[in-house]
């Protein structure tokens, strides 16, 4: 058979994987929509014969479950694409959306808002004791500090012509600096403020409404469009910096813009839902195993897998000890760590 036909078939298979993943995401969303603390299912929404008031069903579906599912899909995709681009750009399998220190910077920002600007408070002694009075101040602060951290990392990396090592090292250094600063302000804070701040850091999808979902979607879409248009540049970068340059890629400019857009998408998500670990690390890893490191296919499939994983984690978090809802960030780390180790060990054995 002709080489070009064989190749096109091979490419066709990869597209098939994407469609399969999309189907899984769709089914999962449907299941997630039907699960929850209140035993309401889609049937109640249409059914006249159920005892539950349609008004309640409407509220639970469209105001609580649906935005939450959308948030999981968008944040999962945003984190996963960001991780994919970071791993490609830094040629480092441990790179994630948080390599630049965004999670630490965002947490610091939130702490500043909650503790120094007093944006959080407690309610008497009920279980949901912590309340964030003004979520927008917290989000804005988290976002500002994330972007601020990114700009510093970029400024530092620029001195070394955006070498991969410079980016990783300045990211790690800045991350630990922000962690130290967070600890410092928590040390002098009131008990309840620390409680609120810790609660914020957990990462929870229940905080968002349609407005936040829309903002997250726009930020993710802007970044993704840039990444997708430059997929061949990233593929060239996969070979080596010199090869990429010889193929006409402006490597420094590409790295700078990629870092900015990764930070923009990640910071937007993190500001609204807190820190959710491991998704951005693990989804691209799994996909690379299945589909290879060709960014043309790795990006879209990682995005969908990120959505699937986060939605799955969140659905588990909502139902596992219902009616208590666990913060999804805890669950992704719990699921992510063993999965990551499994990939690591399996990968070692293969070589």
């Amino acid at each position: 058979m002709q080489v070009d036909i064989i190749y096109k078939k091979y490419i066709g298979k990869k597209k098939y994987v994407f469609i399969m993943l999309l189907l899984i995401l769709f089914i999962l969303s449907f299941i997630a929509l039907n699960l929850g603390a209140s035993k309401i299912t889609l049937i109640d929404l249409i059914g006249f014969f159920s005892g539950i008031n349609n008004q309640d069903a409407n509220l639970i579906f469209w105001r609580i479950r649906f935005p939450r599912i959308l948030a999981a899909i968008i944040a999962g995709a945003a984190l996963s694409i960001s991780g994919c681009i970071m791993q490609n750009n830094l040629k480092n399998p441990l790179a994630s959306p948080f390599t630049l220190g965004i999670s630490n910077a965002a947490a610091f920002g939130a702490n500043v808002a909650i503790i120094l600007l007093d944006a959080g408070s407690t309610q008497s002694s009920t279980k949901d004791a912590v309340i964030i009075n003004n979520p927008y101040i917290v989000s804005v602060c988290a976002f500002i500090f994330s972007i601020f951290a990114t700009l510093i990392v970029i400024k530092l990396a620029k001195l070394k012509f955006f070498s991969k090592e410079a980016i990783v090292l300045s990211g790690v250094a800045l991350g630990s600096l922000f962690t130290a600063a967070t600890t410092l302000i928590q040390y002098f804070a009131q008990d309840y403020q620390v409680a609120v701040a810790v609660f914020w850091t957990f990462g929870d999808l229940g905080r968002v409404s349609y407005k936040e979902v829309l903002i997250m979607a726009v930020a993710t879409l802007i970044s993704y469009t840039y990444f997708y248009v430059h997929k061949w540049d990233y593929n060239a970068l996969e070979a080596s910096d010199d090869i990429a340059k010889s193929l006409g890629v402006d490597v420094e400019k590409l790295r700078l813009r990629s870092l900015l857009l990764v930070s923009f998408a990640t910071a937007t998500s993190v500001s609204f839902i807190g820190v959710i670990g491991f998704i951005g690390l693990i989804a691209p890893h799994i996909m690379r195993r299945i589909i290879g490191s060709d960014l043309r296919f790795l990006m879209p499939t990682s995005a969908i897998l990120g959505s699937v994983l986060l939605l799955l984690s969140d659905t588990l978090a909502r139902t596992i000890i219902s009616p208590i809802i666990l913060p999804v960030g805890v669950l992704t780390s719990f699921l992510g760590a063993p999965l990551f180790l499994y990939l690591l060990i399996k990968g070692e054995a293969r070589r």
């Binding site: 080489v3 070009d4 064989i6 080596s240 006409g248 690379r288 060709d294």
Partner: protein, 250 residues
């Protein structure tokens, strides 16, 4: 005249790596760059296609200054095969297809696929097309890198020690192939090469570099016992066997 290098100067951390390097190459010629390690050969290649930006001097391709071209335009004119490259996990077809990068707008066209198909056929790499490049032997891998550079449809091909990791059979096969393609398609080849006898077999012209400067440049006549003694600090004897110059270290 296709490639003219004019007074090229480059320094790295205030250490001079290239000093006033000038030479001219005509279309279809095969050029060998000779010299000891650290003489500035790799840097010279990287300065020609703007992987490194020279401190002074200029490179012209068909009288157009490379420094004024956008990088993507450079990529359409100059192909480059580096000395070392990390082996990523991609298929041979994808790796060669990457050479079409300067021409790809958003997605590959059938024309790109056709070009890759032809090159693979030409290099008899067809049977490997869906094999991952990290599973290839050294010779096959080197060929893939050359195939990628050829997919750029360049006027000038820069090769940094293309044969250093190959056995004798593959060395000769790869160099003969490069020479054939250079003749057929009128591509000018500039290659760094360490084996003087291979260089003599392959190249039309030679540049000998010493201490970051050009020691001598020209045809076969520049390869003399004295020149080799000066450049490499090695005593050699040059013999003529079957009308071919052979360098024998003594």
């Amino acid at each position: 005249m296709i490639l003219r290098v004019d007074n090229l100067t480059f320094s790295y951390h205030s250490k001079i790596v290239l000093e006033e390097v000038s030479f001219t190459i005509h279309r279809g010629e095969c050029f060998a760059v000779l010299g000891v390690n650290g003489a500035g050969k790799s840097t010279l290649l990287k300065c020609i296609n703007k992987i490194l930006i020279p401190d002074g001097g200029c490179v012209y391709i068909e009288n157009k200054a490379v420094s004024k071209m956008p990088q993507i335009e450079v990529a359409k004119n100059i192909g480059y095969v580096p000395q070392r490259t990390n082996v990523s996990r991609m298929t041979v077809f994808d790796a060669v297809l990457l050479g079409r990068k300067p021409y790809i707008k958003l997605d590959v066209t059938d024309k790109d696929i056709q070009i890759v198909k032809d090159i693979l056929k030409h290099l008899s790499l067809e049977k490997y097309s869906l094999k991952y490049i990290d599973e290839l032997s050294g010779g096959e891998f080197q060929k893939v890198l050359i195939a990628r550079a050829l997919a750029q449809q360049p006027k000038v091909l820069l090769l940094d020690e293309p044969t250093s990791s190959l056995d004798l059979k593959n060395q000769i096969e790869v160099l003969d192939f490069i020479k054939k393609i250079a003749r057929e398609k009128g591509i000018t080849v500039v290659t760094i090469i360490h084996d003087l006898n291979l260089a003599l077999r392959f190249a039309d012209k030679f540049i000998m570099m010493k201490d970051n400067k050009i020691y001598s440049a020209g045809g076969e006549e520049v390869i003399t016992e004295e020149a080799i003694k000066d450049v490499y600090s090695v005593d050699v004897k040059i013999e003529n066997i079957r009308n071919k110059k052979i360098v024998i270290p003594i």
